[in-house]
Each structure stands twice: as structure tokens, then as C-alpha cells.
């Protein structure tokens, strides 16, 4: 950092507390060239530096230098970041923005006191539910009963009168899909035909409940490609949401559990169909860098095996015994697949190999839909604005089928479609489409 001109204070004490924080090695790569600006969904919407990647990094540096407090203003702008990492794609200097924002949020989580209600809800969700499978299933069953009973239609309008800020959060609640995929944990599926690979399926926490069918489809698609599919019983939540929220210790606990559940060397690949999970699984080593424990080594070995399902399939000679599916489809890049994992062509190549399917490119497909983990709940206004833009682009394609490759995105896109000019448009995961094509081919 070079001190120039007037108005600069003498370097004061850092505004960060103990624990992980944005490090010089990473933020010093930013040369504030501004190429990230227009890639950033919040900058595109708001047009202010504070809500741009360059500006957020600048704020992180100012806190380090004591020119800016770790206070409300800073927290507001860090909260508004989607962590979609589109800026990493745009950045010519190779700044690892995800690492920086997550460290900054770690500081906020430990050293900033949020208002009571928010704190309590965050704690309930992140600490009391997500990490515990049984509680999660219980919550899911409750939600399912509620969704099927009709209370939903009654309750929400009332709730929205009482709590108008809840906005449209309600329709984002995932539909619970019985039977939950958690019932499959511990099961091993045999390959169709000779066994070529032995893979482990990462089932995910909420996805096991709300995307049980997509998980089953993933397992079947893998089996169709000569995979023996193991679904380890002791696996749990990946911790992505915790990392994004700055809950580093909680994330580490979850990571340790998964590193034990997927012993390195047992599988050719660890497969996930959730881009958000996949990207954090691939970044587990970052959680253990400072400690340098045995887990760092394990994490490095584990990470080397993690594959998104589309990445895995596109990397092998995939089975093309598809039935023809005549449909005009378009594909939205999940941020954590496109930007965080740089996987863009794999899903498109797979889709193009399905006969009859016409894939039209979606303009701004690389721009976040507003889902971003729990962002659509915590920052509903911004998420809604992004979703509206997204739906306009989808309408332009004239596609009947909207595909993506991450459960979180699918939830958001379904909510968008339900409100759009064409509410009957289907929204599916790429593997579900592949599964359908295989199944139709086999009669």
C-alpha cells in the first residue's frame, strides 16, 4: 500500500480482531483497475464503489489500516456481497476474492455484534439445524406437513402483514420431496454394465430433503456410466453456507466430519451435483491453512478427488444412449460452478449431446440469479432485483426448459418462473434431464 497525497492518516492500528482476516498476500494483488465492476451484480444494480469487488477489497484494506471501523457501514457492504465470485472470472490479476470476503465475514461473525433477532435466527439455522441430520430431517418433515396441509396458503399472507420485510421469502422455501434422500445414506448402487469407476456421492444436507429426486437421478446417471456409486452414511453438511457467513470454526467442524466420511484412496472421485457444495469441498484446504494440521493434508488429497457431476461426466467418454427429447432449453451458469470452479463448457457439452434438445444461450448466463446460498433470504430485495433481470433474459430465449446445476439456483429460478410471464416453464437440474433421456431410451 502506497500512501499518497493528503487526507491520509498515519497508519493506525488494524480494525481487525484476532482470528483469520483478509491477508496482504491476497489483497495486495488488487491493482484497483476496475475490470470487476460490471461483472458484479450488486455494482450493476447500485452503481456505487462500496458495493463493488474493488471497493469491498479497498474497504477491507482500510479496516486493516485503521482508516475504517469494523462497523455497520463495513458490515452492510460485506453482507450485500453475493459471494458469487463473478469478479474472480473478470479479474486479470488473479485476486482470490472469495477467500478475502470469507475472511472478512469471519471477522464480522466473531467481532461484530449484530442485532438480537438476526443473531438468534442465524445461530438457530447455522448452529442448531444444518449440522445435525436428525434435526434437519425433523425440520424438513414439519415443513412438508405445513406445505401439504394448506396452512401455508393461509399463514403467509398473515405473516406478511405482520412482518412485511419478509417480502417474498416464503415462496423460496424448498418443497420437501419425500422420501428423503437421507434414507439412501449408506447404500451402494451397482453400475449398469461393467464397473469402470468407484465413486462416492456427496448428498448434501438440505438437498437430501428438497432435492431427493435430483440426487437419485445423479446416482442413476452415474450408474449408467459404469460407476459403482457409494453413498457414505457418515457424511454431513458441506459447510458452504457457514463459510459464506464467516462461521469458520463451524465450517471446520463440518469439514473434518466429511474428510473422515470420504477416506482418500477409497474412491476414484467424490461427486456432487451441487455447485455450491462442490466449490467449498474443493476449497477445504483453505480452512486448515493456518493450523497446518493433519487435516490440511487430508483436505488436499480429498479435494483432488472432488468433481462436479457434469465435470466428471464430461471428463470421461460419457454414455450417449439418450432418447431424443425435443425441447428448446437454456442454461444458467451457477456462480459456484462457472466462477468458483470455472466449469462452463462441461454442462453445455453434455446437453448438446442429447438428441432433439436445442440449447439456446442465455444472455448474462454468468450473472448471479440472486440465490447465493441464503442470500435470497437475508438480502431479499437485492435478490429479487437480480431475479427479475434474470427472468427477462430467460424470456428472451423463448426456452421452455430452464436448466442449471445447483439446488440453490434451482430454488430461486423456480420462484422466478412461478411469477414470470410463463409460469409453466420447467426448471430442472442438468442431471435430471440426462436421467430422463437415459430412462426414456431404456423404455
Amino acid at each position: 500500500m502506497q500512501m499518497e497525497g493528503e487526507g491520509r492518516a498515519v497508519p493506525a492500528a488494524s480494525g481487525y480482531g484476532p482470528g483469520e482476516k483478509p491477508e496482504w498476500d491476497y489483497y495486495s494483488k488488487c491493482i484497483h483497475c476496475g475490470l470487476c465492476l460490471n461483472a458484479c451484480p450488486t455494482y450493476r444494480e447500485l452503481g456505487v464503489e462500496m458495493d463493488s469487488p474493488r471497493g469491498r477489497i479497498y474497504q477491507m484494506i482500510q479496516v486493516e489500516q485503521g482508516r475504517l471501523a469494523l462497523g455497520e457501514s463495513f458490515v452492510r457492504h460485506m453482507d450485500l456481497c453475493l459471494d458469487c465470485r463473478a469478479c474472480e472470472t473478470a479479474c486479470p490479476s488473479g485476486v482470490e476474492y472469495g477467500r478475502l470476503i470469507e475472511a472478512a465475514r469471519g471477522q464480522i461473525a466473531t467481532h461484530f455484534r449484530r442485532p438480537m433477532l438476526g443473531r438468534a435466527l442465524r445461530s438457530l439455522f447455522f448452529r442448531q439445524i444444518l449440522p445435525h441430520r436428525k434435526r434437519l430431517i425433523f425440520a424438513g418433515q414439519l415443513l412438508r406437513v405445513y406445505q401439504r396441509s394448506g396452512i401455508e396458503r393461509l399463514a403467509w399472507p398473515i405473516a406478511r402483514i405482520i412482518l412485511p420485510r419478509l417480502g417474498n421469502v416464503a415462496r423460496l422455501a424448498p418443497r420437501m420431496e419425500k422420501p428423503f434422500f437421507t434414507e439412501r445414506l449408506g447404500v451402494t448402487m451397482e453400475p449398469v454394465g461393467p464397473r469402470k469407476y468407484r465413486v462416492a456421492l456427496f448428498a448434501g444436507c438440505i438437498a437430501s430433503l428438497a432435492f431427493a429426486r435430483a440426487n437419485e437421478a445423479t446416482a442413476r446417471v452415474l450408474a449408467m456410466n459404469g460407476c459403482e456409486v457409494v453413498i457414505p452414511a457418515s457424511q454431513g453438511c458441506c459447510g458452504a453456507l457457514h463459510v459464506h457467513a464467516g462461521l469458520r470454526d463451524e465450517a471446520r467442524q463440518l469439514a473434518r466430519r466429511n474428510l473422515e466420511a470420504f477416506p482418500p484412496g477409497d474412491f476414484d472421485a467424490v461427486i456432487t451435483n451441487a455447485a455450491g457444495c462442490g466449490s467449498v469441498l474443493k476449497e477445504y484446504p483453505q480452512l486448515f491453512e493456518r493450523e497446518g494440521t493433519e487435516y490440511l493434508e487430508r483436505a488436499l488429497l480429498f479435494t483432488a478427488r472432488v468433481r462436479d457431476v457434469t465435470e466428471f461426466l464430461a471428463g470421461i467418454e460419457w454414455n450417449r444412449d439418450f432418447a431424443s427429447i425435443t425441447v428448446r432449453a437454456t442454461y444458467q451458469d451457477p456462480c459456484h460452478l462457472g466462477h468458483a470452479q470455472r466449469i462452463r463448457s462441461a454442462p453445455r457439452r453434455l446437453l448438446r449431446s442429447v438428441p432433439g434438445l436445442e440449447l439456446v444461450e442465455l444472455k448474462d448466463a454468468e450473472v448471479c440469479c440472486g440465490s447465493a446460498g441464503i442470500y435470497n433470504v437475508s438480502e431479499n430485495d437485492m435478490a429479487e432485483r437480480l431475479l427479475e433481470s434474470k427472468m427477462r433474459r430467460v424470456d428472451e430465449t423463448g426456452a421452455e426448459l430452464l436448466l442449471s446445476a445447483n439446488p440453490g439456483c434451482l430454488l430461486q429460478l423456480r420462484a422466478g418462473v412461478a411469477q414470470s410471464s410463463n409460469p409453466r416453464r420447467r426448471v430442472s437440474h442438468v442431471v435430471e434431464l440426462l436421467d430422463e433421456a437415459y430412462r426414456r431410451a431404456r423404455g
Partner: protein, 455 residues
């Protein structure tokens, strides 16, 4: 309008460096808003500084002595797309690439394509008269802007030019383009749209010696071929770019030329053959042709991300921007190498060779003050040589606060006095973007540094 210190702090920098925190930041949505802001500023006797995306490399958008920053980030409407007349009217905050994307389906584009085109605004392009790799054949921003709406220092709104060529009267549009925000606030721009060419071919010529590459450049122009783009990268930059983008650039070569020819299919075929022949006659080790749109994009991605990629090999670097006649390229590159050697500095070269527009990248570590001082001396030497060879001290980045003190290298006191008097017609009291373009008499070497590390 932003008043809080923690927000204003974020407007002390642009793509060059940081200077001073503005007193306020305004976000107009219309020409009327801009007029109000100008009137307010005038009442309060504070300067006004226009800002697009803040990607400029000469400090055009930073604040030198306080004042209100007018950010055009929310004036980003494309007001009219008029394909039959090949024109568009835009607000200044429209992102350069967004305009091209908006007309791409109907086969048109906006020609100027600075490397920052994904983020930079057309208002900023107008202020800086931006170039880009593809301006070799089709001209820079000024050749593609036909009319402006400008708010003057007293809040008056004037319209210059328009959709048609030559309205009687002085070409104020041409004078305001490139004036770096010192004459008024541009609130609307009428631009020319250009049909996309039928065929595009991209070549990568690989050389063992820098000299062979520079000689090729002159030979191509002398051979009667005007490529759409003709870019050169030397070995140092190549290796950094390759590490960043995996564009497939050869790591062991001394230089490459990235050449693009476009136009009618038949003409392109012939020109590609001719260019390839010229390259081989000048000892190109290999000439590769991009076989698909993907390959072409990959080659360009490397070039467009070059400056950032350099950040990976040096903690800090200073991008220079000078121009010389194309035929002097071989001598100039030898001179730059000698300067580097003399000062013990690593200097990379990446530039618009077809235009003779050099971008030497001087690498250093800002924590070493001796090295920083050497960089400044070396940069001045390079600029002085550009001037001696009949060239210019800036081809596309602008003067700003970076080079205003170097202006006497190429302009006489009379020339500068005339510029000052013309500026005063629009901007009598130093109200718009003070301290830019013209020399202030204060030499502040450390301000002219592009900091490639920290903030």
C-alpha cells in the same frame, strides 16, 4: 449523493492511483440532475470531477483539491438504437461492451475497444478519447462520436453535432472528445455503429528475436495491408499472461505478434496469406491461425488481460503509454531494453504495434524507494525518446495528473497557452476537473506511479 466519510473514501482512487477523498459524491440520473449539481457546486465554489467506472490510467477521475465527484454509474441507459442510420444515443454511464452487445444481434458493434471495455463507460471513453487494439483500421473514439450534450459551468446545456455529419459551425464535439472532463460534463453521446465484418482471421506469429517481430510490423503496413489489429507482446509479458490465462502462448519465444485481419471473405483470405508470408520472411519461427471462434477468443483473452497478469510476476508495475512512428519500433525497443539495463529494471513490452503505441511495463517493488525513483527516471527517459522520435507522450491513456508536467516535452509555451485559453472558454475558474491535462508547475513524481500492489 454520498456525504458519509466511509463512503466518500471509496472515491479517492481510479485505475491509476489514489489521491484525495472528495467532499461529496453525486449520482445523477438525468441531465437535469447534473445541472442541479453543477449549480450547487458553483454556489459552494467547489470543483466538479466527472467519473465513469474509474478504470482510467492517468488519474482523470481522482480528486486533486477536493470537490464533488459526479459518478455517472446510474446514467446508463441506451436512449436510442437507430440501426437504419447506424447510430445510437447513450447516456455516459453505459458500459462500452454493453453497447456492442446490445447491437450485436443485428450485426453491429461500437468500434473503440479499450482493454477495460467490460467495465469502462462510454462517457469515460469520450473523456479520454479511448483507443484499443481494433482502432488501428477504424479509428479511435473521436472517429465514432458525432454529437454530445454537455452541461457547462453555469448549468447551461448545449448540444454539439448530432446524428448527421457536419452541422455548420466549429466541431466542438471533436474538441470536447479527449478533453478529460475539463470542459464540461457530457450527459449524452451520439455514436456511430459499425457493421460487423463478414470474416475475421487471427494469427499468432512467434519470434526468436524481438527485432524480427518489430520489423515485421513495419513490413506489413508497408505491404499495403491494414490489419484490424496488430499487437505485440515480448517474452516477459508472454510468460506472465500464459500463467494467468493459459491462452497457449509459447513460453520460450522472444516475442509474438497477434494479428487480425477482417473484412470481405475473399480479401481476408488473401491478406492472411500475405501477412503469413511477411511474417515468415522476417524469420517467424511459427505462424498459428486460430481455427475457431473459441481459439480466437482465447488468444485475445490473453492480450486483454495482460496488465493484470503482470501483477503476478512483480509486486508493483508502472504502465507507460507512448507513441512513435511505426518504422522506429526496432530502434525504440532497443532503447527501452538499454534503459532497463542501465537502471537494473525489468521492463516488459506489450503494445499496439500497428499504431506504434507502446506500453512499456516497468516492474518494481514500491517498498524499495530507490527502485521506485529509478522507475520514474526510466519512464521519463522513455517518454523523452518518444517525443524526440516525433511521437507522443500518450496514445490512449490520457494526460490527467500523470503526464501534465511532461506536456512541455511535445508542446511549446505558445501551444500550451492556446490550450489554456480555449479551456477557459468552457471552464473559466478551474471548476471542472482542476489540475489535469495542462501543467500546473508542481512536479510530484510519486503521484505518477501505477501501483500494482496494495491499493
Amino acid at each position: 449523493m454520498l456525504w458519509r466519510p466511509e463512503d466518500r473514501l471509496l472515491y479517492e482512487y481510479d485505475g491509476l492511483s489514489s489521491r484525495r477523498v472528495p467532499d461529496a459524491v453525486a449520482f445523477p440520473r438525468s441531465t437535469e440532475d447534473v445541472t442541479e449539481i453543477v449549480k450547487l457546486a458553483r454556489r459552494e465554489k467547489v470543483p466538479v470531477i466527472a467519473r465513469g467506472a474509474g478504470t482510467g490510467l492517468s488519474g482523470g477521475a481522482v480528486v486533486t483539491e477536493g470537490g464533488i465527484v459526479v459518478s455517472f454509474a446510474r446514467m446508463k441507459k441506451i436512449l436510442e438504437i437507430d440501426i437504419p442510420n447506424q447510430r445510437a444515443r447513450v447516456q455516459p454511464g453505459v458500459v462500452n461492451l454493453d453497447l456492442s452487445l446490445a447491437v450485436s444481434d443485428v450485426g453491429f458493434y461500437f468500434v473503440p475497444d479499450p482493454s477495460s471495455q467490460k467495465a469502462c463507460t462510454i462517457g469515460g471513453n469520450v473523456a479520454e478519447n479511448s483507443g484499443g487494439p481494433h482502432t488501428l483500421a477504424y479509428g479511435v473514439t473521436t472517429n465514432h462520436v458525432l454529437g454530445l450534450e454537455v452541461v457547462l459551468d453555469d448549468g447551461r446545456v448545449i448540444r454539439t453535432g448530432g446524428k448527421v455529419w457536419d452541422r455548420p459551425g466549429y466541431d466542438l464535439t471533436g474538441f470536447i472528445v479527449g478533453s478529460e472532463g475539463t470542459l464540461g460534463l457530457v450527459t449524452e453521446i451520439t455514436v456511430r455503429l459499425t457493421p460487423k465484418p463478414e470474416a475475421v482471421k487471427t494469427l499468432l506469429a512467434i519470434y526468436e528475436r524481438v527485432l524480427d517481430a518489430t520489423r515485421t510490423v513495419a513490413a506489413i503496413t508497408a505491404g499495403g495491408i491494414t490489419p484490424a489489429a496488430l499487437e505485440m507482446m515480448d517474452g516477459i509479458t508472454l510468460r506472465a499472461i500464459e500463467a494467468a490465462t493459459h491462452a497457449g502462448y509459447p513460453l520460450d519465444s522472444a516475442a509474438v505478434l497477434l494479428i487480425e485481419v477482417e473484412g470481405l471473405r475473399e480479401a481476408v483470405e488473401e491478406e492472411v496469406e500475405a501477412v503469413e508470408g511477411i511474417c515468415r520472411r522476417h524469420a517467424a519461427r511459427e505462424v498459428r491461425r486460430a481455427r475457431s471462434e473459441e481459439e480466437r477468443e482465447l488468444l485475445w483473452r490473453g492480450r486483454k488481460n495482460a496488465f493484470g497478469a503482470l501483477g503476478r510476476i512483480s509486486p508493483n508495475f508502472y504502465v507507460q503509454d507512448g507513441v512513435i512512428p511505426r518504422t522506429r519500433l526496432p530502434a525504440m525497443l532497443e532503447y527501452i531494453a538499454a534503459v532497463g539495463e542501465k537502471h537494473g529494471l525489468l521492463i516488459g513490452n506489450i503494445f499496439h504495434a500497428g499504431d506504434g503505441n507502446l506500453h512499456p511495463l516497468l516492474m518494481f517493488d514500491a517498498r524499495d524507494s530507490k527502485q521506485t525513483a529509478k522507475v520514474l527516471v526510466a519512464a521519463s527517459e522513455i517518454m523523452a525518446r518518444c517525443a524526440d522520435l516525433g511521437g507522443s507522450i500518450t496514445g490512449e491513456h490520457g494526460v490527467g495528473i500523470e503526464k501534465n508536467e511532461l506536456m512541455p516535452l511535445i508542446f511549446s509555451p505558445d501551444d500550451l497557452a492556446m490550450m489554456r485559453r480555449l479551456k477557459e472558454v468552457f471552464n473559466p475558474a478551474g471548476f471542472f476537473n482542476p489540475g489535469k491535462v495542462l501543467p500546473t508547475g508542481k512536479m510530484c513524481g510519486e503521484l505518477r506511479i501505477q501501483v500494482g500492489g496494495g491499493a
